[in-house]
C-alpha cells in the first residue's frame, strides 16, 4: 500500500523516535532510580506503562502523519471525490476490544502495585512521626526517648533550618503523617512515592530504603505562602551509623535540655552575668530549703539590670508579685543578692527592665 | 473543490421550527432546571450523610432532640399545597377559571404559611450554624429549602396576578405547568429535609 513517496517522508521520523526512546530508556525512561523497596515495584510498573504507551504513541502518531501525508491532495488531482467510506463495524469492534484488553492487563498490574504500596505493617521495625506545618517539617522518633520522656525530634524552621530525616538502610520504617493546619504532601521523588498529610486523617505508609545516601524531599500539595520552601532531606545510613546518630542526637538534646531547663544545683552560690542585654545562662539552679546568694555581674555599661524570680512566665505577664526581686543597678557593676529559701519547683527568672529579652528557668531542687 | 451550482428546487423552510411532540419548550427548560437543582440538593444531602457517617455521635451530645410536631404540621401543609397546585393545573387545563384561580390562591397562602412556620421553627432550635458540623448542615439545608420555597411563592404569586387578569387558558398554560413542576419538586425536597433532619436525626 505505501508507495515510495510516503516511505521517504516517514524515513526520518522513525529513527528519530527510536533515538529518543533509547535516550529515555537509558536513564530509566526519565524516572530517577528508586531507592526504596516499594519504589522498585512502582518503577517496574512505570517502565511497563512507559514502553506500552510509547509503542501506542509511536504507532498512532505514525498512522496520523502517514495518513495526512500519503493521502494529501496533490496538484495533479482532479476534483473527483474519493470513495465515500462510512465505517467498518469489524474495525470498530477491534479497536474497542484490543485497547480494552490492554487496559485490563494494565489494571491488574496496577492492582498488584497498589496493594504493595498500601500495605501498612502492624509491626514496623521503626516508626517515625512526620509532623507537617506551615511551612516546615518535624520528624519525631517515637522509639527513642530522652530522660525527660520526650521523643527525639528533628525540627525544621523557615527560612534556613532544613530538617534531615535520618533512617537506617534495609529497615521497614513506618512514617506516621500528621498536621494541625492545612493539607501537605510528603514527597520523596527518589522513593517514587508521596502521601498527603491531611488534618483529621491518620495517614501512614511503610517504606524500606535499600540504598544509602542523601535524598531530597519536598511538600507536594499547595499549603500556602511558602509552600516552595517546604524542603527536607532524607539521609539513609547503615544501622551502625544510625545508632551513632541517635546516640549523638540524644546526648546533644540532653545537654541542650540541661543548659536550658534541666540544670541542677551545685552549692548555694549562683553566678550569672548580663551582657549585651542577655543573660549568659538560660538556666539557673539552687538547693531546696536553704538560703542562697546570687552573684550578679552587670557588664552593660550604663544600662539597668536586675534578677527577679517569678513562679512562671504567665505570672510575669499577669503582673504577679515576684518571689524575689533583686536591686536594679547600672553596669558595669556587681551585686550579690541574698535570697530566702524557696520551695522545690521550676521557676522563671527575668531582668525586670528587659522582661522579654532576658529570661530563663530557675530550678529549686535537692542538691546532688 | 468546485461547488456545483445548487439545485435548490426541493429546498423549503418548514412552517414551524419547533418539534411539537412531547414536552413544550418552557416545560422542558423547567424540567432541566429542576434536574440541576436536584444535583444541588443531592450535594447538600450527600454532605449531611458524609458528616453524619464520620461523627462519633450524631446529633452531638449538646443538641437537644428536636420537637417534631411543628414539622409534621408543615409537611401536611406543603403536601396539601401540592394537591391544590395540581388542582390549579387541572383547572386551567379544563378552562375552569374558578377552580384555577382559587386553587392557585390556596397554594400561595399555604406556601406563605409554610414559610412562616419553617423560619419560626428553625429559629427555635437551640443551636446555631456556627456550632459545629451538625449545626452547619442543619441550617444550610433548611435555609436553601426556605430560599427555594420563597422563589416558588413569588413565582406563584406572579402567576396568580396573571390568572386574575385572565392571562391563561387551556391553550396557554405552560407557565402554570412549569410552576407546578417546580412546586412539586420543592415539596419533594421538603420530604427529604423533613425525613433527614427530624425523623432520622
Amino acid at each position: 500500500m505505501p508507495r515510495a513517496t510516503s516511505r521517504r517522508s516517514s524515513r526520518g521520523y522513525v529513527p528519530g523516535l527510536l533515538a529518543l526512546a533509547l535516550v529515555l530508556g537509558a536513564c530509566g525512561a526519565g524516572q530517577p532510580d528508586p531507592v526504596t523497596e516499594q519504589g522498585e515495584g512502582l518503577h517496574s510498573l512505570y517502565l511497563v506503562v512507559f514502553w506500552l504507551g510509547f509503542a501506542i504513541f509511536a504507532a498512532v502518531e505514525i498512522a496520523i502523519f502517514y495518513m495526512a501525508i500519503r493521502f494529501r491532495r496533490r496538484k495533479t488531482d482532479d476534483d473527483s471525490l474519493p470513495p465515500q467510506i462510512h465505517g467498518n463495524d469489524k474495525l470498530e469492534i477491534a479497536w474497542t476490544v484490543i485497547p480494552a484488553i490492554i487496559v485490563v492487563v494494565l489494571f491488574v498490574l496496577s492492582w498488584i502495585q497498589i496493594n504493595d504500596v498500601q500495605k501498612v505493617s502492624a509491626e514496623p521495625q521503626l516508626t517515625i512521626g512526620v509532623e507537617a506545618f506551615q511551612w516546615q517539617w518535624n520528624f519525631v522518633y517515637h522509639d527513642e526517648t530522652l530522660a525527660s520522656g520526650e521523643p527525639v525530634t528533628v525540627k525544621g524552621a523557615l527560612p534556613d533550618e532544613i530538617p534531615t530525616l535520618v533512617v537506617p538502610v534495609d529497615t521497614l520504617i513506618q512514617l506516621d503523617l500528621s498536621t494541625e493546619d492545612v493539607i501537605h504532601s510528603f514527597y520523596i521523588p527518589q522513593a517514587l512515592y508521596k502521601l498527603d498529610v491531611v488534618p483529621g486523617l491518620d495517614n501512614r505508609f511503610d517504606v524500606t530504603f535499600t540504598k544509602e545516601g542523601r535524598f531530597r524531599g519536598q511538600c507536594a500539595e499547595l499549603c500556602g505562602l511558602s509552600h516552595s520552601q517546604m524542603v527536607f532531606w532524607v539521609e539513609v545510613v547503615s544501622a551502625a551509623e544510625y545508632e551513632d546518630w541517635i546516640a549523638g542526637t540524644k546526648s546533644e538534646a540532653e545537654a541542650e535540655l540541661l543548659a536550658t531547663t534541666a540544670c541542677k544545683p551545685s552549692g548555694t552560690k549562683v553566678e550569672v552575668v548580663a551582657k549585651d542585654i542577655k543573660f549568659d545562662k538560660k538556666c539557673l539552679a539552687a538547693p531546696v530549703d536553704s538560703p542562697f546568694e546570687i552573684v550578679f555581674d552587670n557588664q552593660d555599661e550604663g544600662i539597668d539590670h536586675n534578677v527577679a524570680i517569678y513562679t512562671s512566665e504567665e505570672a510575669v505577664t499577669a503582673g504577679e508579685k515576684a518571689l524575689f526581686q533583686g536591686e536594679i543597678f547600672k553596669g558595669v557593676d556587681e551585686r550579690t543578692y541574698d535570697v530566702e529559701p524557696i520551695a522545690e519547683g521550676q521557676y522563671f527568672f527575668i531582668c525586670d527592665i528587659h522582661p522579654t529579652a532576658m529570661t530563663g528557668t530557675f530550678n529549686i531542687a535537692p542538691e546532688g | 473543490m468546485t461547488a456545483t451550482a445548487l439545485d435548490r428546487e426541493d429546498w423549503e423552510l418548514p412552517d414551524s421550527f419547533e418539534d411539537e411532540g412531547g414536552m413544550s419548550m418552557p416545560v422542558m427548560g423547567t424540567v432541566l432546571f429542576i434536574a440541576s437543582e436536584v444535583m444541588f440538593f443531592a450535594t447538600l444531602f450527600g454532605t449531611y450523610y458524609a458528616l453524619r457517617a464520620q461523627a462519633s455521635q450524631w446529633p452531638p451530645a449538646d443538641v437537644e432532640e428536636l420537637p417534631i410536631f411543628i414539622p409534621i404540621v408543615l409537611t401536611a401543609i406543603l403536601l396539601t399545597s401540592s394537591v391544590s397546585m395540581h388542582g390549579a393545573v387541572w383547572g386551567v387545563r379544563n378552562n375552569n377559571r374558578t377552580v384555577f384561580v382559587s386553587s392557585l390562591a390556596i397554594t400561595v397562602v399555604l406556601g406563605l404559611v409554610f414559610l412562616v412556620g419553617e423560619v419560626f421553627d428553625a429559629l427555635e432550635a437551640g443551636f446555631e450554624i456556627s456550632s459545629g458540623a451538625y449545626g452547619s448542615i442543619f441550617f444550610t439545608l433548611l435555609s436553601f429549602h426556605v430560599l427555594h420555597v420563597t422563589g416558588g411563592v413569588v413565582f406563584l404569586a406572579y402567576l396568580l396576578f396573571g390568572a386574575a387578569a385572565g392571562r391563561f387558558s387551556s391553550r396557554n398554560y405552560q407557565q402554570v405547568e412549569s410552576a407546578s413542576y417546580y412546586w412539586h419538586f420543592v415539596d419533594i425536597v421538603w420530604i427529604f429535609v423533613f425525613t433527614t433532619l427530624y425523623i432520622i436525626q
Binding site: V49, M67, N88, P99, I183, P189, Q190 | P14, M28
Partner: protein
C-alpha cells in the same frame, strides 16, 4: 479556490423570513438575543480573557525560567504571595473565562445553524447566560482592589481556602465569580439541550445530527449534572468562611476530604466539558478536508456517550494520594475511559484513509490536535494506574499532562474551528499562508513548553512552587519551557493579525467555501437574522453534501439503506 455560487437575495417577503428589529448599533450589543451575535460576544470576551490568562502564564513561566529568582518588573515583584495569586487566577481565568465561554461561542453560533433552527430555544436566557460571564470576570478581578485575589489554587482546597488560612476577600470573591459563571454555564446547558431536542429541522433525526451537536449535547448534560454540585460545594466553603460553618473543619466535626470529593465530582467532568465540543469541531473538520464522510459516525456517538457516562465516575483519581479513597475503583474507571477516547482517535485517523486531504490551515490545525491529544491521553494512562501516580501526582508531569490536553490540543482544535468557521461567521476567509505559519509556530511552541515539564515532573519538581533550588538540574528544562511559552504567544499574535487582516481584506467566502457538509453551509455567510430562507431535504448526516453531490448520493450503495435505517 474555485468560485462558489452566489445565491440571489433571499425573498424578504417570504413567510419564513424574518428581519432583525432595528436598534442603534451600540445599543444592539447590549440588547441582542440573536444567537450569532451572542456567540460573537462570547468569542470576543473569551479571547480577551485568553490574553489575560496568557499574560499571567508568561509571567509565571518567566518567574520559573531560572532557579532561585524573584522576577522584578516595573510595578511588579513576583513574591511568593504574588506567585500563588498568579497561578490561581491564571487557572481560573483559563478554565472559566476563556475556554468555557469560547466553547459556548462555538455552540451558540453553530448548534442552531447545524440543526436548521432559527435561534436557540430561549434567546433571552441565552443573552442572560452571556452577560453573566463578564459579570463573573469583573467580580473575580475586583479582588485585586479588595485586598488581593485568592491564592489557594483554582481548586481552593479547604482548610487552605478556609477562614483561618485565607482571610480577606480574595476567596470570597473567587467563590462569587464561580457561582455566577456556573450559573451561566448551567443556563446555557439547559438552553442547548432544549434547542437540540425541540428545534431540529424536519428530517434531522438524532442520528443525522452533526457530531458537533452531539458533543454539545453530551457536554451540556455533563454541565447540568456537575456545575450545581460545585456551586453547592463552594457555598459550603462560603458558609465556613463567613458564617462560622464547620463543613471542612476537622476540629468541629467537619471533613477535609469531603471538599475534594465535591470539587472533583465537578472538576473531572469539567475536563470533558472543555474538550468534548472541540472534539466535535474536529469531527466536522477532518471529514470535510478529507473529502470523505466521518468514519464510524455511530461509533463516535456511542464513544461520546460512554465518555460522558464514565466521566462522572472517575473524579477521585485526582485524590489518589489522599489516602482516603478506594484507589483501585477509580483506577479501573480511569483506565476504562481511555477506551472510548481511543475509539475516537482511531476513527479520526481512519477518516483520513484514502481521502484527498486538503492541507488547509484548518486541517493542519486538526492534525495538530490529533497529535497533541494523543500525548495528553497517553500520559494520562500513567496517572490512571493509581500506583505510578504516587510519584507523578502534583508534579510537573501532571501539569504537562493536562496542559497537553487543555492547551496544546485545545488551542489546536480551537484554531482549527476558527479557521473552518470564520468564513461563515464573517463572510471572509482568514489568510491561509499566515495560518500555516501559525500552525508551525504553535506546534513548536506548545511542545517546547510542555514536553520538558514531563521530564521535570519525573525528576520530582512539584507544581505550584514559586521557585526551586539551584543545583537540581531543573534550570535548563524550565528555560526551554519558558521559551516555548513565548513562541505560543507569538502564534496567538499571528492569529490576531490574521483576524484583523481578514476582517478587511480576506477573500469573500461565499456560502460554502469548503464544499462542507452540514446545514450551516446552506445559508449565506454570515447567515441572516433567523438563519435560513430554505433548507435542503435532510436524509443523512450530510444534507448539504447530498444537495451538492447528488451523483454521489445516487451511486452510494449504502445511501438508501442509511436513509431508511436512520428514519425515526
Amino acid at each position: 479556490m474555485a468560485t462558489t455560487e452566489v445565491r440571489p437575495e433571499a425573498p424578504a417577503t417570504d413567510a419564513g423570513y424574518v428581519t432583525a428589529p432595528y436598534r442603534a448599533r451600540w445599543f444592539r450589543w447590549f440588547t441582542t438575543t440573536d444567537h450569532k451575535e451572542i456567540a460573537k460576544m462570547y468569542a470576543v470576551t473569551a479571547f480577551f480573557f485568553l490574553l489575560v490568562g496568557g499574560t499571567l502564564a508568561l509571567l509565571i513561566r518567566t518567574q520559573l525560567a531560572a532557579p532561585e529568582q524573584t522576577l522584578r518588573l516595573p510595578g511588579l515583584e513576583v513574591t511568593e504571595q504574588v506567585y500563588n495569586e498568579m497561578f490561581t487566577i491564571h487557572a481560573t481565568v483559563m478554565v472559566f473565562l476563556f475556554l468555557t465561554p469560547m466553547l459556548a461561542a462555538f455552540g451558540n453560533y453553530f448548534v442552531p445553524l447545524q440543526i436548521g433552527a432559527a435561534d436557540m430555544a430561549f434567546p433571552r436566557v441565552n443573552a442572560f447566560s452571556f452577560w453573566l460571564v463578564p459579570a463573573g470576570g469583573i467580580v473575580l478581578f475586583l479582588s485585586y482592589f479588595a485586598g488581593g485575589p485568592a491564592a489557594a489554587g483554582w481548586t481552593s482546597y479547604s482548610p487552605l481556602a478556609g477562614p483561618q488560612f485565607s482571610p480577606g476577600n480574595g476567596v470570597n470573591l473567587w467563590i462569587g465569580a464561580l457561582a455566577l459563571l456556573g450559573m451561566s454555564s448551567t443556563l446555557g446547558a439547559i438552553n442547548f439541550i432544549t434547542t437540540i431536542f425541540k428545534l431540529r429541522a424536519p428530517g434531522m433525526t438524532m442520528l443525522r445530527m452533526p457530531i458537533f451537536c452531539w458533543n454539545m449535547l453530551i457536554q451540556s448534560v455533563l454541565i447540568l449534572f456537575s456545575f450545581p454540585v460545585v456551586t453547592a460545594g463552594l457555598l459550603l466553603l462560603w458558609i465556613d468562611r463567613n458564617f462560622g460553618g464547620a463543613f471542612f473543619d476537622p476540629a468541629n466535626g467537619g471533613n477535609v476530604i469531603l471538599y475534594q470529593h465535591i470539587f472533583w465530582y465537578f472538576g473531572h467532568p469539567e475536563v470533558y466539558i472543555l474538550i468534548l465540543p472541540l472534539m466535535g469541531a474536529i469531527s466536522e473538520i477532518i471529514p470535510v478536508f478529507s473529502r470523505k464522510p466521518l468514519f464510524g459516525y455511530k461509533a463516535f456517538v456511542y464513544a461520546t456517550l460512554a465518555i460522558g457516562a464514565l466521566g462522572t465516575a472517575v473524579w477521585a483519581h485526582h485524590m489518589f494520594t489522599t489516602g482516603a479513597i478506594d484507589v483501585k475503583f477509580f483506577a479501573a474507571t480511569s483506565f476504562l475511559i481511555s477506551v472510548p477516547t481511543g475509539v475516537k482517535m482511531f476513527n479520526w485517523t481512519a477518516t483520513m484513509y484514502k481521502g484527498k486531504i486538503q492541507w488547509s490551515a484548518a486541517m493542519l490545525f486538526a492534525i495538530g490536535f490529533l497529535s497533541m491529544f494523543l500525548i495528553g491521553g497517553i500520559t494520562g494512562i500513567f496517572n490512571a494506574t493509581g500506583a505510578v501516580d504516587s510519584a507523578l501526582h502534583d508534579t510537573y508531569f501532571v501539569v504537562g499532562h493536562f496542559h497537553y490536553v487543555l492547551v496544546s490540543a485545545a488551542l489546536f482544535a480551537m484554531f482549527a474551528a476558527l479557521f473552518y468557521w470564520f468564513p461563515k461567521m464573517t463572510g471572509r476567509m482568514l489568510n491561509e499562508k499566515l495560518g500555516i505559519w501559525q500552525v508551525v509556530v504553535l506546534f513548536v511552541g506548545v511542545n517546547l513548553t510542555f514536553f520538558p515539564q514531563f521530564a521535570l515532573g519525573l525528576q520530582g519538581m512539584p507544581r505550584r512552587i514559586a521557585t526551586y533550588s539551584d543545583g537540581l538540574g531543573w534550570g535548563w528544562l524550565n528555560m526551554l519551557s519558558t521559551f516555548g511559552s513565548y513562541l505560543v504567544s507569538v502564534a496567538i499574535l499571528l492569529f490576531i493579525i490574521n483576524f484583523f487582516w481578514a476582517r478587511k481584506r480576506g477573500a469573500i467566502a461565499g456560502d460554502n467555501p469548503w464544499d462542507a457538509y452540514t446545514l450551516e453551509w446552506a445559508t449565506t455567510s454570515p447567515p441572516p437574522y433567523y438563519n435560513f430562507d430554505a433548507l435542503p431535504p435532510i436524509r443523512t448526516e450530510r444534507p448539504v453534501f447530498d444537495a451538492n453531490h447528488p451523483e454521489i448520493a445516487a451511486s452510494d450503495e449504502d445511501y438508501d439503506h442509511r436513509v431508511s435505517s436512520s428514519t425515526p
